[in-house]
Amino acid sequence: MMSDSNENFRAIVASDDKLKARWEAVSDKVVADAAKLLGVTLDREDVVALPSARLAVLTDDALSDDYLNEVKDLEAVQEHLRQQELRAALERGEDDALASLPKGRAARMAAARDLGMTGAAPVPAPSSVADEATLLRRLLTLSPAERLAKARAWGLA
């Protein structure tokens, strides 16, 4: 039944250029907000399932404030949010979170990788000549043995 109503909605939107423009504006906003506020990636298919998004397209009303909660109720998003929470708990070093992972070293590491814990984020190389020069000069005040590790940490080597 859900997909039926979605079909109707799609048919209505496709028949009217004005509605099509509204649909694109609304769905772009929802996708962008979901990425910014919740850190989840939606596609347009997901947005069709949101009642407040459909309402905002078909009426002149603004998007209701509830739409973020509706996004959170989506099945795919819920799974994603659960993973985010678990990852945050693991990074805080909570024992409960650790216990929820599978037993055994290899299985644990695989699970952590699935959560996106693949080591430190890559460091971007300094973007300007002046930045690079400053970092390099600071680097050269260190002892030779310390330099390379720092250089890697600062994205220089």
Binding site: E132, A133, L136, R137, P144, R147, A151
Partner: protein, 170 residues
Amino acid sequence: MLTVCQTDVANALGLSRNTVTTRTRRLEFTHAAQGARRYRLADVLPTIKARELDKVPPLFELAEDDGEELFVGDNAVPRARRLEGWLRGEQRERLFGAQVTFTGALAASVQSSVLFEHHESLRLKLALTDPVLRWTVLGDGDALPPFEHWAVPFAITNARYEDLHEKECA
């Protein structure tokens, strides 16, 4: 870096311990287990006479890696010059090629001129590293490092202000 002890030199070159002791007298060394003095191969090479040159590859085989990959050590400029002075025709050309490649790789990898302030001494110190030493002295092409990834770490580790014009003590 590759290091050798006096016994290695005596065995490879067929010299007496006394001769080796005399030749290595002025060289810097570190103490290995049992107090044996270990010298950097790049420092020992210039003590090898022309008639002994065919014994150089066996000496490379006896040399041991002390685990240091990039840092060429203190007082490097006079040591590098002594080594350069010992090289012969083809070896000099190989070293020159490595220096040109290094300069190109460094220029392609950094935007600022900070490391290039040290370029002249870095260019000299290049010969003191194992990969460039093997390539220069033995012509071992497999030893050459991937300069595009190697030039910056080498330069960062070894860049320092050096007196390029000091007179070497005789």
